[in-house]
């Protein structure tokens, strides 16, 4: 099956890309809104995948970064700022907060880190809810304007969808380049074996911080795009539930797989909508499906596909024979 892996991946990507391009013509406005939400959540999940999937740091703070990005864009654009400066500000602010949080938080690992980031998410949520002078508390920020690009207004849902999709493509390409660079290799080394990574000269602390801060920055970008999409920002969407949902997206899609978050976001954002035919039972059906998925493929959907496509088609024993041949005649005698 291994030889079909690449063609199958290219075919699936082409088909999915074509679907995303024509999707607005196939759906009603609500469908386009849900797809746009999928795009935004995919960006946040791509950021979390970098932190969790590649650098191996469990973070339950991604919703906080999405929230910070959303509030920055919502607050500034409703105070007369154009969209683009707020977009970059959201990225850099979340990057900086991620870096500052990472310094003390990354001294601990695994579930301890999860607890620290969980506490941070709760703290940020409480700031959103209680600091009315800044965030308007539970009343939120209304009428967040939608951006326009070179005079092209994003007020129409289709335009906004394509605008968001272009961001997703850009961020995906940038992330792909990052994980293919020596940094990406160092992230994997830090995740797989930090002690060995250190002995190879890899500054594990600095790389972990970088992965955490970039992941946070991508959360900020997702938030900055979420604000004009929903046009009303209040604290509720940025509670711990969103962090857990984003974690679900990464894990269900396949943690550490580049396309995992996209697939996971389909499960977390689109699947509940498709299950609405079950009416009152749709969330129960969704929960059962997710539990089943995790029981039968704990490495996520892409982990499952990877297993299927990694099946050997060459007769076993060939590499061993090649190794013995390369080791020379002595090895033949030893055999």
């Amino acid at each position: 099956m291994r030889r079909y892996r690449k063609p199958a991946a290219i075919a699936a990507l082409t088909l999915f890309g074509a679907f995303l391009l024509i999707a607005p013509q196939l759906f009603k406005p609500y469908g386009v809104f849900i797809l746009s939400t999928w795009v935004v959540m995919s960006i946040a999940a791509v950021g979390l995948n970098l932190t969790l999937g590649y650098a191996g740091q469990v973070s339950l703070a991604q919703a906080a970064f999405v929230g910070i990005g959303s509030y920055i864009t919502a607050w500034l654009t409703t105070h007369g700022w154009p969209f683009w400066p707020t977009y970059f500000f959201a990225f850099f602010a979340c990057f900086a907060v991620g870096w500052l949080l990472g310094y003390p938080a990354l001294r601990v690992q695994h579930h301890y880190l999860a607890f620290v980031t969980l506490a941070f998410n709760t703290l940020v949520y409480l700031v959103f809810r209680n600091e009315e002078w800044l965030t308007n508390g539970i009343y939120g920020i209304m009428n967040v304007p939608r951006p326009s690009v070179l005079g092209w207004s994003m007020n129409h849902p289709h335009n906004l969808y394509y605008f968001l999709l272009a961001h997703l493509v850009f961020i995906s390409v940038m992330t792909w380049l990052l994980i293919q660079s020596p940094w990406g290799r160092a992230f994997v080394a830090v995740r797989e074996n930090p002690i060995r990574a250190l002995s190879l000269g890899i500054d594990t602390r600095r790389y972990t911080l970088m992965a955490f801060a970039i992941g946070a920055g991508l959360g900020g970008i997702a938030g900055s795009l979420y604000a004009p999409l929903v046009q009303f920002i209040d604290p509720t969407p940025f509670a711990l539930t969103l962090s857990l949902n984003l974690l679900l997206m990464v894990v269900v899609g396949g943690s550490g797989y580049f396309f995992g978050p996209f697939l996971g976001a389909i499960v977390a954002v689109l699947l509940p909508e498709w299950l609405r035919f079950a009416q009152g039972f749709y969330l129960m059906a969704y929960a059962v499906l997710v539990v089943g998925l995790m029981v039968f493929c704990p490495t996520g959907l892409l982990g499952l596909l990877d297993r299927i496509f990694s099946t050997r088609t060459t007769p076993p024993g060939q590499p061993e024979a090649a190794a013995l041949a390369a080791a020379g005649p002595a090895s033949e005698m030893a055999r």
């Binding site: 080394a189 797989e192 590499p319």
Partner: protein, 247 residues
Amino acid sequence: MKTVMEVRNIKKQFGGIVAVDDVSFDVREGEILGIIGPNGSGKSTLFNCILGQLQPTAGDVHLEGRKVTGLRPCDLNKLGVSRTFQLLQVFPQLTVRENLVLAGQEHQGTMLTRLFGPRDAGLSGAADKMIDFFRLGHLTDEKASGLSYGQQKLLDAAMAFMAGPRLVLLDEPAGGVNLTMLQSLRDRLKAMNTEEGATFVVIEHNMEFVMALCTRILVLAEGKLIAEGDPATVRQNPKVIEAYLGH
């Protein structure tokens, strides 16, 4: 011969247990120094104290005259000290070439230039040479997880040499390796010393392997240095025989 590393009065205590007790020695340029001793004699603890994985209770380590005691392993590596571990430590998800590129990439430019530089950090050529040197050419693009244990040991050793270090410390390189691969490993390490002039320190249990590979041997027992000399002298030393065979 020039001294590459000086280890002076290293002591490591875990509560009431003295794992390494006042050990001093020099590593000279171009030599293969073996450190042997029965189980629990403090060999790996000594390595970990030298390499910054453990903070010694007392004593100092100098690398070419510079005090390096307690430096982080990554900083020590950047100064030219590399190591392998007792248990296999390759990255199973990466290919053989990627493992080698990873082993050398932090010595190429700065963090920023590595981000915007080439994907292989300009090390593919050097990695391929190392692959050929360790006779892993037929496995270049195989994931490390697909290699046999012996091949992974060869890769592990090759990674330690990838950044052209001043000194390499190998912790039980022969552990668990079958006879065929052991011969190949010894041959490659010897070649690395004679052809490339690499200096290294080897901790090993396999006496035959150590005697054939090393030019000088130190013997540890109960954390103390009990003998030092060339392989033939050490083999005849009554203290060494007693340490290995017991009273």
